[in-house]
C-alpha cells in the first residue's frame, strides 16, 4: 500500500478501515433517513405506508427493510406541489438555488432541486474524483460541454476550481473552435463523454489536420456513458489523445458516486463515505456481497438535503471486484464500472444482449470507425438485429475481410447473428453528449 497521502483528496475517509467505514455508513444512513422522514412529505408517506419509522433501523441488516424508490416515483411526485419538484422536497422552496433535470433518456425528465449546500456537496464529490485522477493546481482544464439544464460536467467545473485548477469554459464554441482553443492555451486536461472524446479526436485529425497527441493533454475524465470502462473504447481514446482516460459515474438524482483512480485497476472506487451502494440480485432481490456476481444497484446518497436519495433503484448493473486496488483506498471497487442497465439488457432471439458488448466488439476492430448504430426489429415472429458501421477510408480495400472478422467476433461475444450495413465514413450521427446508438423498435410494434 502506498504511503503517499498526497494522492488522496481526503485520507481520513479514503483510508478508513473497513469496519469504521461501515459504522460511518450506518450512522449516516440513519441520519438521512430521519431527515427525509421529518422533512419530506413523500418519504414520510412512503415509510408510514410500510410501517417503518427511522428508529427501526438499528443495524446494517435493517437497511434492507427500507422501501426502495424508483424513477417513476420521482416523476409521479412532480405532479404535486411545490412546483416543479413535488413534495419529495425536504427544504422550503426558497432555499433551492439550483435547477437541473435528467436527460429524459428513459422517459419524462426528473427535475432536480439543490440547495447551495447540495451544490457544494456535488463539487466535493467531484473533488474526490478529480484529485484521484491526478488533477492539481498546475492543470489548465478545458470544459467542452454545453452549460445548460443538464448536470453533465457542471460539478466537474466547480471541483476543478476547488482543487485550484485553472478552468476554461468552452460552452458555446463548436468542436473545431474548442480544439483550437485547447491548443492555443496549452490545456492539460478536459472532461467529456467517451463519444465526444473520440469525436473531438476525429475532428482534430480530419478537419483541422492536428494530431490530438500534439496538444499536450495529460488526462481526460469521462462521464455520461460507460465507454471509459469498456476496454476497447478506452484504448481508442487513450491512443488518440496519448494520455490516460479515466471513468467516473454519477447521475442527476444521485450524485457522482464512483471513480477510477490513477492506478486504473479495471474498475471504479465507490465513494463509500458519501454513498451506500447495495447490489441486489435482479431475480430474487437478495443483497449480493460477494465479488463477481452481477446485480442491480440500489444507492443512497447520505448528504443530499433538498431531494434526498434513499435506496434508489438505479437499474445500473454492477458487480463487486475480487481484487484490491493498489492505490490504498479502502473504498470498494466495482469491477468494470457500470456493466449495463437492467432495462437495457434485452432478450433478442431468446439471448440476453447488453449493448455494451456490441460496443466492445466494434471498437476492438481498428479498421472500423468510432460510430455505430444497432436497430432491433421484429419480422413476423423473428427478431432481427441491424448493425450499421463505418469502415475507415484506408481500410475500404479490405472491406470483406473486415466484415467477416466483425461477424465472427459478434457471434463469439454475443452469441447472435447480425445483418451488417456499411455506411460511408463520417455519415453516421455524431453526438456531443449521450449517444443513442441502440434502438429496440420491437417495443413500438415496428
Amino acid at each position: 500500500m502506498t504511503e503517499d497521502r498526497r494522492i488522496y483528496w481526503n485520507p481520513i475517509t479514503e483510508l478508513l478501515p473497513k469496519e469504521k467505514l461501515r459504522a460511518l455508513q450506518l450512522k449516516k444512513f440513519k441520519r438521512v433517513l430521519k431527515w427525509a422522514y421529518d422533512k419530506s412529505p413523500f418519504y414520510r408517506r412512503l415509510y408510514k405506508d410500510a410501517g417503518l419509522e427511522p428508529g427501526d433501523i438499528k443495524s446494517f441488516e435493517d437497511i434492507a427493510k427500507v422501501p426502495k424508490i424508483e424513477k417513476d416515483m420521482l416523476r409521479e411526485v412532480q405532479k404535486r406541489e411545490p412546483f416543479p419538484y413535488g413534495d419529495m422536497l425536504a427544504v422550503p422552496i426558497e432555499e433551492v438555488t439550483e435547477f437541473r433535470q435528467t436527460s429524459g433518456t428513459t422517459g419524462t425528465p426528473v427535475y432536480q432541486a439543490d440547495t447551495w449546500q447540495d451544490w457544494e456537496w456535488w463539487s466535493e464529490c467531484w473533488s474526490y474524483i478529480l484529485y484521484a485522477q491526478g488533477y492539481r493546481n498546475t492543470d489548465r482544464v478545458f470544459m467542452p460541454f454545453g452549460y445548460n439544464i443538464f448536470v453533465a460536467f457542471w460539478a466537474g467545473h466547480y471541483a476543478a476550481e476547488k482543487i485550484g485548477c485553472e478552468v476554461v469554459p468552452g460552452g458555446v464554441l463548436d468542436t473545431q473552435a474548442r480544439i483550437l482553443k485547447m491548443q492555443e492555451l496549452k490545456c492539460t486536461a478536459f472532461m467529456a463523454t467517451p463519444t465526444y472524446v473520440l469525436n473531438m479526436a476525429d475532428v482534430a485529425k480530419n478537419k483541422l489536420g492536428i494530431d490530438p497527441r500534439s496538444i499536450g493533454i495529460r488526462r481526460i475524465t469521462c462521464a455520461g456513458e460507460p465507454g471509459a470502462s469498456i476496454p476497447t473504447t478506452k484504448k481508442r481514446m487513450e491512443e488518440a489523445w496519448g494520455c490516460p482516460v479515466y471513468d467516473h459515474v454519477g447521475a442527476t438524482e444521485i450524485g457522482a458516486w464512483a471513480y477510477e483512480c490513477t492506478s486504473q485497476p479495471g474498475g471504479l472506487h465507490v465513494n463509500e463515505a458519501f454513498f451506500l451502494v447495495e447490489i441486489e440480485d435482479i431475480e430474487t432481490g437478495e443483497i449480493i456481497d460477494e465479488p463477481g456476481r452481477e446485480g442491480k444497484m440500489i444507492i443512497t446518497a447520505f448528504d443530499r438535503e433538498a431531494k434526498p436519495c434513499i435506496r434508489f433503484d438505479s437499474k445500473d448493473v454492477i458487480r463487486w471486484a475480487d481484487y484490491q486496488c493498489e492505490c490504498g483506498r479502502t473504498f470498494r471497487v466495482i469491477d468494470g464500472g457500470v456493466i449495463g442497465r437492467a432495462d437495457d439488457i434485452t432478450k433478442v432471439k431468446g439471448v440476453l444482449l447488453a449493448p455494451s458488448a456490441i460496443e466492445e466488439v466494434v471498437r476492438g476492430i481498428k479498421e472500423l470507425g468510432d460510430e455505430f448504430e444497432v436497430i432491433v426489429t421484429k419480422r413476423g415472429d423473428v427478431d432481427e438485429i441491424l448493425l450499421k458501421v463505418e469502415i475507415r477510408p484506408e481500410s475500404e480495400g479490405r472491406k470483406d475481410e473486415v466484415l467477416a472478422h466483425l461477424k465472427d467476433q459478434l457471434r463469439l461475444k454475443t452469441n447472435l447473428g447480425y445483418k451488417i450495413e456499411v455506411h460511408s465514413y463520417g455519415s453516421l450521427p455524431r453526438y456531443e453528449v449521450k449517444a443513442k446508438r441502440f434502438k429496440d423498435l420491437r417495443k413500438k410494434g415496428a
Binding site: I12, L15, K20, L24, K27, T115, W121, A273, D303
Partner: protein, 58 residues
C-alpha cells in the same frame, strides 16, 4: 494516516467555525450581504464536517 488527536483538534476547529458562521448569519440577518455570504460559508463548513467530524464522531 492522520492521528486521532489531530483529527479531534481539527474537529474542534470546525465546530468553532460553525458556531461563528451561525452567529454571523443570525446577527446579520437584516443585511443580505452578510446573511447570504454566511449561508455560503456554512455550506463549506458542512463539507468540512462531512470530511472530518462525521468520522471523528462515528
Amino acid at each position: 494516516m492522520i492521528s486521532r488527536e489531530r483529527m479531534v483538534e481539527i474537529d474542534g476547529a470546525i465546530k468553532e467555525l460553525r458556531r461563528l458562521a451561525e452567529g454571523l448569519k443570525k446577527d446579520g440577518a437584516e443585511i443580505e450581504a452578510i446573511k447570504r455570504n454566511a449561508v455560503r460559508i456554512l455550506a463549506c463548513v458542512r463539507m468540512l464536517e462531512l470530511n472530518v467530524c462525521d468520522v471523528v464522531e462515528s
